[in-house]
């Protein structure tokens, strides 16, 4: 264990913890862009990439050190004295934010990410009001080629979380960063072969980063050409509005309430945080469940439209005159009586074992328990099974 002081308060953390972790223990929040909340990114990877992923927004002042240190990867040491909001730190953060803002479109009112945007939050916090200058850069077009999400990379702040999530956590490696001039650009990760094919280049001619960017901007290549599995984890981690779900739901962050529940698809049991507006699910994000660790797949992230689909059954129906008659809307009372009378009739005439029930591996334990109790105790048969074998 090591003891250190942050903003005048003492804290004890395990050896090897970062300053960020120690601050979190005290309830002091330090801004971050590129950092993964669960420390799942490998640091080796970071240094390999020339530090292009370092946003440095978490810079803090440590007594005795001339330079500011980054809280996310600096180990807490015994007797360390850290200041997370000193004037020096604030001006450094302001400088970083101003640099980001100088390339970022300041059209916040029309951005779907409004109020959920980290950049917006920190700009407010450190007093960055508007663009003071414009950094020359290559203007990006939207990439709408994936069916589930779109990229509006003009808004990208180059934190690299999407790239690293895809590479290190999902393992698909569909995103990459290329460097043109002094700036990094997030791009679909494609081989030179694909670019040559799309650009109609033959032979050994080298494909430069500029050419790649141009091909991407012209819509010749897109996310649809990569190995992307549309899991949407890049969308979930994007701190700004650069990666967004192609959602039909119109909502703003403050209109929603968040509820965590268990996913309804496969057996992994991922925890999902749904955003709900007026009783309707409008967005889904991974929650940090024990079996999903802040990850989701395409079904969990995007396939919740069925809940509000207009084809949903809304009232009970029965066929009054046998199999070939149409299903007719009836009241619950009538439908329940109709079904119950038939069950009683069959049971009396042919015995309980002439009735069978298929329960469901898709519904809750409580439903399953009551369903088998219904067949065993109320009907009197063990003919109950579900789709475990299928």
């Amino acid at each position: 264990m090591v003891k250190l002081t942050i903003n005048g308060r003492q804290v004890e953390v395990e050896k090897g913890s970062t300053i960020l972790k120690a601050a979190k223990k005290l309830g002091i929040s330090i801004p971050t862009f590129c950092h993964d909340d669960h420390d799942r990114f490998s640091n080796a990877e970071c240094s390999k990439c020339d530090g292009i992923y370092q946003c440095k927004i978490c810079s803090c002042e440590v007594a005795g050190s001339k330079e500011l240190v980054t809280a996310c990867d600096t180990e807490a040491a015994d007797g360390m004295v850290v200041l997370t909001e000193s004037e020096k730190v604030k001006s450094k953060r302001k400088e970083i934010l101003e640099r980001i803002v100088s390339i970022h479109p300041m059209d916040c009112v029309n951005c779907v990410k409004l109020n959920a945007c980290k950049l917006q939050k920190y700009c407010e916090l450190y007093g960055v009001k508007d663009k003071e200058k414009e950094t020359p850069h290559i203007v990006r077009n939207k990439d709408m080629s994936n069916r589930f999400y779109y990229q509006e990379l003009e808004k990208c702040i180059r934190c690299g979380r999407c790239v690293r999530t895809c590479r290190e956590l999902v393992g698909v490696n569909a995103l990459t960063m290329v460097k043109v001039g002094n700036l990094n650009y997030v791009m679909p990760n494609l081989s030179d072969k694909v670019y040559k094919e799309k650009l109609g280049i033959k032979g050994d001619k080298e494909i430069t980063a500029e050419m790649k960017l141009k091909a991407y901007n012209d819509g010749l290549v897109g996310m649809a050409d990569t190995d992307c599995v549309s899991c949407g984890n890049c969308v979930s981690v994007c701190p700004v509005g650069a990666l967004m779900p192609k959602s039909e739901n119109e909502f703003r962050e403050w209109e929603t309430k968040k509820v965590v529940t268990t996913c309804t698809y496969c057996g992994v049991g991922c925890q999902i945080e749904y955003s709900v507006k007026d009783g309707k699910i409008v967005d889904a994000k991974p929650a940090n469940g024990p079996s999903n660790q802040d990850l989701l797949c395409v079904k969990g992230k995007f396939a919740y439209d069925f809940i509000n689909h207009k084809d949903r059954l809304k009232y009970p129906m029965i066929r009054k005159n046998g199999k070939h008659s149409p299903l007719e809307r009836v009241s619950w009372e009538e439908a329940l009586d109709f079904a119950a009378n038939k069950i009683k009739e069959v049971k009396d005439q042919f015995g309980p074992d002439s009735i069978a029930g298929f329960s469901s591996a898709r519904t809750i334990n409580e439903d399953n328990y009551l369903f088998q109790k219904f067949l065993r105790a109320a009907v009197g048969t063990n003919n109950v099974d579900h789709c475990a074998r299928l």
Binding site: V259, G267, D305, S359, N365, H386
Partner: protein, 626 residues
């Protein structure tokens, strides 16, 4: 699962067999890729070259249905090289000597021939697996859905027991369960021989316990499984079928056979949507979706987790338990529950493994059963003190490999079809197909055929083919691949009128009664160009219909391919050219006769002629958000 889901990252060796993990359990697939990045070893054994095969250290492309032979071969190597865990075996298992003797006949040479893989790879895989005390076996339906599925599972358990890979973190025998609550449904006794917590219905003491708890005399006879109920209806033994949240017409083997049965019985269904099964239903009850109810799901690692009501209930939908409770009262069994939690508190009293779990305890994080009391922390890893088996030790059973009868008639049905899951769809698509992006990513069925087979049959990529088994035939699009061996093909399981038209409902695994979905003997043939065109038209039409049903005017992100298709259709109509329907040949005509089709057809035409739409198209359609 004996171990945790995340345990796959703690393992040193991961042995994946019969599971396309990245497609069917995507988040777990991500963990496998993370494990690989951490330098862990991966062994994959699967007839289909799944995406994880590309990162595997050893990939064994075995012939379908040869898992028992492969495991016996691996055991042969393990015993021959003395890699078994002798201490664990003597302390915790019985039947070791017999097994050792038995697997002697499964030499790597012989197994290599049966499985169609290299001898060295089998030896290497055995050494790798046995060389670690943290070897994690993950399997799914590719192991179980065979006529010898039970043998497959038991042979994997042999492998774990012989090497002592059981009872600690990062190892174990781990079936990846397909549905969100298939574990829970089994735990809750939705099985024909088991009360909750696998207490057998035919044991008198257990029967007495439940008679006391439920206050009525109970039936001691074993019930029928899903796969036995359908034939029983046809034999007039079962007259009434109550289906809650299931779609047997698509999910059960031999569709035609299922349809016959459902036409005969009185069918009550309870579901979110009208589906293929409710076409034969006499009563349809509307249910609430998972987001509209409170309750619990038990995931594949036996963790009981909360499900929370967060969305508004649609129309007159009711919770499933409410409907069942109403029926129970009406047929003379009085009971009353106010909320799901009341039922949970009741089931805790009769389910020893859930006894210590309460809604309050799992509010933040779920608990693994067995959890016998409220101060018990739950059990993430099973068999920590040696295998639990009715007081006895872990039983090593000898399993002879047997070829499936499905593959015997090679002359008439030369191809072995194996049904698979795909990433985008879920089971019978009732839920996933309502998300447009999912639908258009995988709108219709297909078959993947080896390129050599395709060349022999003169089938091109994207062509329509007819796939025939003794049960029936289906028309699908062919995709030519090299991810399967010659003589093997695969088809997604999800589509109605697809793989399950071909599967067999009569031959089942003798113990588990599971159908042999992974080995279906089929023949594949080209279809005439006229027929192919009709099929293509029908499929295109279905796409447009789907799109129209989704109300395209309100869609913000247009589907470009369908927009183009509609534009082409519209251009034809404007020119006065005969529209696509007239071009359909006989097979197509049948389809156009249905009343439903005519209505949709009319709506399509009127929609296409809608002036507003044309105006909309003049602008830039589709690619920009509003």
């Amino acid at each position: 699962m004996t171990n945790r889901v995340t345990g796959i990252k703690d393992a040193d060796v991961v042995f994946i067999t019969g599971s396309n993990t990245t497609e069917a359990h995507p988040v777990m697939g991500m963990y496998v890729r993370q494990a690989k990045r951490m330098g862990k070893k991966i062994i994959v054994a699967d007839p289909v070259r799944i995406p994880l095969a590309d990162i595997a250290d050893i990939y064994l492309q075995i012939n379908p249905g040869t898992s028992v032979a492969l495991t016996n071969g691996m055991l042969n190597v393990i015993f021959a090289e003395g890699l078994e865990d002798k201490i664990y075996m003597s302390e915790h298992t019985e039947g070791g000597e017999e097994l050792k003797e038995f697997v002697k006949q499964y030499t790597p040479e012989r197994v290599a021939k049966i499985c169609g893989v290299k001898e060295e790879d089998i030896i290497e895989a055995a050494r790798l697996y046995a060389g670690s005390k943290k070897s994690y076996i993950a399997y799914a339906m590719g192991i179980t859905q065979h006529l010898n599925g039970t043998d497959n599972v038991m042979s994997l358990s042999n492998l774990a027991l012989v090497t002592g890979n059981l009872g600690h973190d990062g190892c174990g025998v781990n079936p990846l369960r397909g549905q969100n609550n298939v574990q829970g449904a089994c735990d809750m006794g939705a099985l024909p021989t088991d009360y909750p917590a696998y207490q057998k219905v035919f044991v008198p003491e257990i029967q007495q316990k439940f008679e006391k708890a439920w206050g009525v005399p109970l039936n001691p006879n074993k019930g029928l499984t899903v796969t036995q109920v359908i034939p029983a209806i046809l034999e007039d033994k079962v007259k009434l079928l109550y289906v809650m949240g299931e779609n047997p017409v698509v999910s059960d083997p031999d569709t035609e056979h299922v349809v016959h049965a459902l036409e005969k019985a009185f069918v009550i269904t309870q579901d979110l949507f009208l589906n293929e099964t409710s076409e034969y239903a006499d009563v349809v009850f509307p249910s609430t979706a998972f987001a509209e109810k409170d309750g619990t799901f038990s995931n594949t690692e036996r963790r009981v987790q909360r499900v929370r009501k967060l969305a508004a209930v649609k129309g007159e939908c009711k919770d499933d338990w409410w409907t069942i409770m109403q029926i129970m009262n009406r047929i003379g069994y009085k009971c009353h529950y106010d909320k799901a939690e009341d039922i949970f508190n009741e089931l805790r009293t009769v389910t020893p493994s859930y006894a210590g779990i309460t809604y309050k305890r799992i509010e933040k994080e779920g608990i693994h059963w067995p959890c016998p009391s409220e101060d018990h922390p739950g059990t993430p890893v099973l068999h920590t003190k040696g295998p639990i088996r009715n007081g006895g030790k872990g039983l090593l059973k000898t399993m002879e490999w047997q070829p499936s009868p499905e593959t015997e008639n090679k002359k008439e049905y030369p191809i072995t079809l194996t049904s698979c899951r795909i990433l985008y769809h879920y089971h019978t698509r009732t839920m996933t197909d309502r998300t447009r992006a999912v639908h258009f990513t995988a709108p219709r069925n297909w078959i993947e055929i080896n390129k050599e087979d395709a060349a022999e049959m003169k089938i091109q990529n994207g062509e329509w083919v007819e796939v025939t088994s003794p049960r029936g035939s289906v028309f699908v699009e062919a995709r030519i691949v090299d991810t399967v061996q010659p003589g093997v093909a695969w088809m997604p399981f999800h589509y109605a009128g697809g793989a399950n038209v071909l599967s067999d409902a009569h031959n089942l695994d003798p113990i588990s009664k599971i159908p042999g979905y992974k080995q279906i003997g089929v023949k594949i043939s080209k279809v005439s160009s006229k027929k192919a065109k009709a099929l293509e038209n029908k499929a295109d039409k279905a796409e447009i219909m789907y799109y129209v049903n989704e109300n395209p005017d309100a869609i913000r992100f247009k589907e470009q391919s369908v927009e183009d298709m509609i534009a082409a259709e519209e251009a034809k109509m404007l020119k006065g050219a005969p529209n696509l329907i007239d071009e359909l040949d006989k097979e197509g005509e049948e389809f156009t006769k249905s009343e439903d089709y005519k209505i949709k057809e009319q709506s399509l035409i009127s929609w296409c002629r809608n002036d507003n739409r044309k105006k909309a198209r003049k602008g830039k359609v589709g690619w920009q958000p509003k």
